[in-house]
């Protein structure tokens, strides 16, 4: 505890706020709620983890329709609130035994609409028990498409770029 206090004093105190919102208590988070939170905290960077768990403003039983509404609303929100939004989306594998490959746009869970609304889509893949994440841009309005590798250590929480495998498609 003392170390935590020391560390907090040295590294966190007086810095910008870092807000985390969860619906652990069972509340629903829809784009309207998110917009309210953005108005409240005025963030410069928003992460939605993850898209398929969010409730759209207009409810629908159809998952594809829900996804379509959601991704459209998120894009409009990013523009009107002038903030970058990164949405995490799960992917549905064609083969359930192969979870180590890097998914393609077509494997976005429920609907591909997010691929149309997004400015960039980065797909991630990792072999079982490997500490190397394969990253591939599947869509990029602001730059080139390409792949790169990142080495991770989840215990220590660091990410290191592995440059020797950098290849341009």
């Amino acid at each position: 505890m003392e170390t935590l206090k020391e560390w907090h004093k040295r590294h966190l105190a007086g810095k910008n706020p870092f807000h985390i919102i969860s619906n652990d208590q069972g509340g629903e988070i829809s784009p309207s709620v998110l917009r309210g939170k953005i108005d409240q905290y005025k963030p410069d960077f928003v992460i939605v983890d993850y898209l398929q768990l969010m409730t759209p403003n207009q409810k629908s039983d159809n998952e594809t329709v829900r996804m379509k509404n959601l991704s459209r609303e998120l894009k409009l929100m990013a523009i009107s609130e002038e903030v970058p939004i990164i949405a995490i989306s799960s992917a549905t594998p064609d083969d359930v035994n192969d979870l180590s490959s890097v998914p393609t746009l077509g494997q976005t869970a429920w609907s591909r609409q997010i691929a149309y609304d997004a400015d960039w889509v980065m797909a991630l893949g990792r072999a079982t028990n490997s500490d190397i994440i394969e990253c591939a841009f599947r869509k990029n309005r602001n730059g080139f498409m390409g792949e790169f590798l990142v080495q991770v250590d989840f215990d220590k929480g660091y990410y290191r770029y592995k440059d020797y495998e950098d290849k341009q498609l």
């Binding site: 928003v46 768990l53 990013a78 970058p84 494997q107 797909a123 991630l124 990029n140 929480g157």
Partner: protein
Amino acid sequence: MNNTEAKVINAVLKDKQIHVLLQANIDNILRTHSDIWNFVRNYFEHNSSVPPSSLVVERFRDFEVIDDVGATKHHLEELQHEYLNDSLKDILRSAATEVQNDKGAEALTNLITKTSELKKNTSAVRDIDVIDLDSAIAYFEHLKAMEAAGNVGIKTGLPGFDNYLPSGITAGQLGVFLAYPGIGKSWLALYFAVQAWKQGKTPLVISLEMSETEVRNRVFTIMGEGLWSHR
């Protein structure tokens, strides 16, 4: 018309959904309340918040406060509807007069220009004319001011990522991480958030999967670069 305009202003003061009006070309629609709307918009641009209605009343003596209003979007749609009907009547009437006076060609040209103008004013679509130099200059000046204020794209510190996104992660962007479960996309997103925070930004993380305390543990792990373990 008059009453609907007052309702729109009252609604936005009440539910603060000013973005609905900002993206709706409302400036061209308002006739009687445009001065009040300009005040509200300027106030919002300076203070990032909608003014309290008491301030508006103090400033505009003739402003009528209506307590019983619905959502801004609803009243905006009502206003657009009324505006559309009124304007169409005017356009058609003048076209009819011209046709009666045997000026068919002029009537047609006027009809086309006026109806497309009308369409622009009643839809939430933004228009831009590439030839319009003033608009371009205003945009670039805005970019310059943003840059001077330190509002540049967020860099992630991962050369692989930053190379592919040379301008960084900028406002208005929607980015997507796509992966099968358990790959580490939440981790990477949190890592990006911490990098942004280290650059003096204010991140907001919506976690629908993990509780806020679990996420905080992970954030501490990333911030502490291994000093803390989340397990």
